[in-house]
């Protein structure tokens, strides 16, 4: 019964998101950029397919982050703003099931969109590979339709699942959507720089106490930078499956911890 209710809430989030104009706006923007990468690729002699892959994957990641942040911060706060939360919580729906359902629903929405954009990128790459002369194709370090791109998309999906959990924490306790957006973007950007923060003392000559403090923040923040394997894959370099597996495990554990925090915050919340 619990799983069924969680599934219902999740399915409802998915349904709400696919009817949301924001999603279509970001999706259209992303598809446009993926298609536009072909034009950009054509003006960079010899590097065209790499540019298409690079731009395409970066677009998928950015579009995924935008969707996650802008839909994620409203996941709970919108229910409170429009007072639908009163009717929902009057049903036999424990609060933790509501939070978990919301989370899974948005992860499903984001994953479907990321993989749809990846499919669009593959179509563009397939067309480009098909229309390129053989001598050009032979100069590529990786084929145009490289199945290893799927690992990048898998990593982006894991990264966005973690970012969804961050957005949900802010959505659960903040009463301002704008502040939630700012905080979530702040954590995302800091997380992208987390590797530098962890080694702050090595990069910048500062007081050891400050270096330790900044390094601790670097370790505490979600390590979004570690999910980035785009350049290795695009340049045909090896990426260990162990790294991918461990980053997925990291995302699951970190997201589960944040989900626990959201559940705890939401359990204490009152609705005036």
């Amino acid at each position: 019964m619990t799983m069924r209710r969680v599934g219902l809430v999740a399915w409802h989030v998915f349904k709400e998101s696919v009817r949301d104009r924001v999603l279509y706006g970001i999706g259209a923007f992303a598809l446009l950029l993926v298609a536009g990468s072909v034009l950009i690729g054509q003006i960079t002699a010899g590097q065209d397919v790499k540019i298409i892959k690079d731009l395409g994957l970066a677009t998928i990641e950015i579009a995924g982050a935008l969707m996650t942040i802008f839909i994620g911060v409203g996941l709970v706060s919108r229910e409170i703003d429009r007072r639908s939360i009163y009717s929902l919580l009057a049903k036999p729906l424990p609060r933790w099931e509501f939070i978990v359902g919301k989370y899974l629903g948005l992860v499903l929405t984001i994953a479907v969109n990321l993989w749809a954009m990846a499919a669009a990128l593959y179509v563009v790459l397939a067309w480009y590979g098909w229309t390129s002369p053989e001598n050009i194709r032979l100069s590529w370090t990786a084929p145009a339709v490289d199945p290893r791109l799927l690992w990048v998309v898998t990593m982006i999906t894991a990264e966005m699942a973690l970012l969804t959990a961050v957005a949900l924490v802010f959505s659960t306790f903040s009463s301002s959507a704008l502040l939630s957006v700012v905080f979530t973007i702040g954590v995302f950007v800091s997380g992208l720089a987390s590797a530098d923060l962890r080694h702050f003392g090595d990069i910048v000559d500062v007081n050891p106490a400050v270096a330790t403090f900044v390094s601790a923040i670097g370790w505490a923040l979600p390590a979004f930078s570690e999910f980035d394997i785009k350049s290795q894959i695009v340049h045909g370099m090896p990426v260990s499956l162990g790294l991918i597996g461990s980053m997925i495990g990291y995302a699951v554990i970190y997201a589960a911890s944040l989900l626990g925090l959201s559940v705890a915050l939401f359990a204490r919340r009152e609705f005036k």
Binding site: L8, H12, D20, R82, Y86, S87, A90, K91, P94, F271
Partner: protein
């Protein structure tokens, strides 16, 4: 008789102010009981604590002190929530869903099978008069239709206890009449209806028992009959074609004379006076009787007296 809802010294403090938070008592030691079956009206002016009470019963708010129970279970207990339906004040729902989709979704949270959910949603929407608008998106609904869909979602689980927060709010006269009729039907089906309102006329028509809140305190509670006694307040006699001389002659015998206009007067008799001699005298002096009615304490009288 079983108890549907009870509270014991239920108190809720809020804090107001950002820089210097100050406590504000929203509900102060509320103790009452609602027996199962019948309609209970929680009345009071705006800010009296009606919605706070309902939210405490549903665990949307947590008490500062005191306790509450629904079907003997603490607020928030899933087993209590299976047996109740709630309509919040000024409800708004997911406007991209149709009425049918919304109520089906809410029905699913009770664990019914998908086909049962659809059937229940259809029946609930039919019941509130939205049969023809089930498949329209809620964003196209009028305020009254949203209120109706809110009532439908509250009834989708066939609840034993129905809690309505200001159910008449935003409804036109026809909508209000329909909701009144629905509440009476729910009562006749043996359900308990608890509703908050500041519209006393509705409460007087519907409630078997009422509680009146003012500034967070319960200032009156009981059956409507107890609170609005007809005994001991005298009579009001209205007559037409009453001459000024007759008015002066009758003045010593009546408690109060109120001119209505065009020779019409209202005569209030005290609790010890019978109306018949006055009616006879009026007739003998050529005046015509318009009406004679016992003076009763209305819910409004009780409300105004206790709330002020």
């Amino acid at each position: 008789m079983a108890t549907a809802v009870s509270t014991d010294r239920l108190t809720k403090d809020f804090t107001t102010g950002f820089w210097r938070p100050r406590p504000h008592r929203g509900l102060d030691g509320l103790t009452f009981e609602i027996p199962a079956g019948g309609v209970f009206g929680l009345l009071g002016p705006n800010g009296a604590g009606k919605s706070t009470t309902l939210k405490l019963l549903l665990n949307l708010l947590r008490p500062t002190s005191g306790t509450a129970s629904v079907f003997g279970l603490p607020p928030g207990d899933i087993n209590a929530h299976r047996r109740l339906g709630f309509l919040p004040e000024h409800p708004t729902f997911y406007d991209y869903l149709t009425g049918q989709e919304l109520v089906t979704y809410f029905a699913g949270l009770f664990g019914y099978s998908p086909s049962d959910c659809r059937a229940r949603a259809t029946a609930a929407l039919d019941r509130v008069g939205l049969a023809g608008d089930r498949t329209r998106p809620i964003r196209q609904y009028s305020k009254g239709m949203v209120q109706r869909v809110g009532i439908a979602q509250a009834l989708v689980n066939d609840p034993e206890l129905v809690i309505f927060d200001e159910p008449m709010s935003g409804l036109d006269p026809i909508g209000r009449r329909d909701v009144r009729q629905l509440i009476l039907e729910l009562r006749d089906e043996g359900r308990t209806v608890l509703f908050s309102s500041h519209i006393l006329a509705d409460a007087e028509l519907l409630c078997s028992r009422v509680g009146i809140l003012a500034k967070g305190k319960l200032v009156a509670s009981g059956t409507l009959a107890d609170l609005t006694s007809t005994a001991g307040r005298g009579w009001e006699v209205v007559a037409a074609s009453v001459s000024d001389a007759l008015v002066e002659r009758l003045r010593p015998r009546v408690a109060k004379i109120t001119p209505i206009g065009d020779g019409r007067y209202s005569f209030d008799l005290g609790p010890t006076e019978a109306p018949e001699p006055l009616i006879a005298d009026l007739a003998a002096a050529g005046a015509s009787l318009v009406s004679a009615a016992p003076l009763r304490t209305t819910l409004e009288d009780v409300f105004m007296e206790r709330v002020r």
